[in-house]
């Protein structure tokens, strides 16, 4: 038998070309099953039947087998901890594929969407590169909460994951490192979009990257830096004031004299211009 070629460029999915007869495909997928089980928890519960089903449909399949998706559909419980926002009657789209109607749970630890059958997916905040409210109907036909999800496979998949008995919704192979997945949540209540966005923003702030943590931030600075700082209309004057304030604060540890020095220089050791304060008519 010839060496199986990469399927869709994916190193974890080897298969014969589409023109191969079905028995060969089944044999190849048997090998893949073993590889995928070896990969770990993410494929726990994926039965041989599921993979053969996916493989059997492969000759006819276009991009619909979740070629690019890195979102895993599985059986999930309703989240109970740290729930910030629940939005029922929310349709989830992974890339452009609708997952049907369900409920969105925005919690402190994770974003979970699940339908009434208990099938759904969870997203970890570090993998959510960006989220936004999209109201541009030219770009997508529904107002929605848009998420850009980092496509990297996470080794620590949802630890609460149970084995999936359903044969549908096996989303498919994992993409390479730089891929991103677009996820959209379309609530029936479009007015809830801002609240959904804000809840997600709040929870994102709970999950900074470890390496970005500034271990030097102590009490004074922690109070100062807490929360989102932004003024909608920061005037140029306000800007300058902010800059000077910052300068003062940066200098302020043990040196603060409360005096706002306009030029930001703590000490001007340069020689003073004797004539600086002289009256104009003395300057001849």
């Amino acid at each position: 038998m010839t060496q199986p070629s990469l399927l869709h460029g994916n190193p974890y999915l080897c298969g014969a070309p589409r023109t191969t007869e079905l028995p060969d495909l089944q044999l190849n997928f048997a090998n893949i099953h073993h590889k995928m089980v070896a990969l770990g928890s993410s494929f726990k519960g994926a039965s041989q039947t599921e993979i053969q089903t996916c493989g059997a449909s492969l000759p006819d399949h276009g991009a619909g087998c979740g070629e690019k998706a890195s979102v895993i559909i599985q059986a999930l419980d309703v989240p109970t901890e740290g729930v910030r926002h629940v939005q029922d009657e929310t349709v989830a789209y992974v890339e452009d594929d609708s997952q049907g109607n369900g409920s969105l749970y925005i919690t402190d630890n994770v974003v979970t969407w699940r339908n009434s059958s208990g099938q759904g997916f969870s997203l970890q905040y570090p993998s959510i590169s960006l989220h936004a409210v999209s109201r541009d109907l030219n770009a997508f036909p529904h107002e929605c909460l848009f998420l850009m999800v980092d496509g990297k496979l996470s080794d620590d998949a949802d630890p609460r994951q149970k084995s999936s008995d359903d044969e549908d919704e096996v989303v498919g192979p994992f993409e390479g490192d730089t891929a991103t997945t677009e996820v959209r949540f379309v609530p029936a209540d479009k007015g809830a979009l801002d609240a959904m966005f804000n809840s997600m923003s709040d929870c994102q702030a709970l999950h900074p990257d470890e390496q970005d943590t500034d271990s030097e931030a102590d009490d004074f600075e922690a109070n100062y830096y807490e929360g989102m700082e932004g003024e909608d209309n920061l005037t140029p004057e306000g800007q300058r004031t902010l800059e000077h304030l910052e300068n003062l604060l940066l200098n302020g540890q043990g040196q603060g004299d409360g005096q706002n020095r306009p030029n930001g220089n703590e000490e001007n050791t340069n020689q003073m211009d004797e004539d600086q304060f002289a009256d104009a008519d003395e300057m001849q």
Binding site: A132, T180, P208, D212
Partner: protein, 99 residues
């Protein structure tokens, strides 16, 4: 890297248009609405500057960008008082040495 300086600096840029390049090569232009201590960035009225790199992106409102995925922030040159930045950076470095 000391984040204090950048946090302060970005705060002073609120209301200005900047371009953020993400680690996945996507570039986003928007009006800086706010920033937090982790340099998470909130934009209003964003557009994608290079649609070819990411054709599915769309113009949105209220975009929140996770700080850890930002590769670069491109700023208008006339908004940057480089002298002020240099002074502040020096002072901050001096402070760190004292700790």
């Amino acid at each position: 890297m000391n984040i204090h300086l950048f946090y302060s600096f970005f705060k002073s840029l609120v209301g200005k248009d900047v371009v953020v390049e993400l680690k996945n090569d996507l570039s986003i232009c928007g009006t800086l609405h706010s920033v937090d201590q982790f340099l998470n960035i909130k934009f209003t009225d964003i557009t994608v500057t290079d649609p070819d790199k990411y054709p599915h992106m769309l113009s949105v409102k209220n975009c929140f960008i996770r700080g850890s995925v930002v590769r670069y922030v491109q700023l208008p040159a006339d908004e940057c008082d480089t002298q002020l930045l240099q002074d502040a950076a020096r002072k901050e470095a001096a402070q760190n040495r004292q700790r």
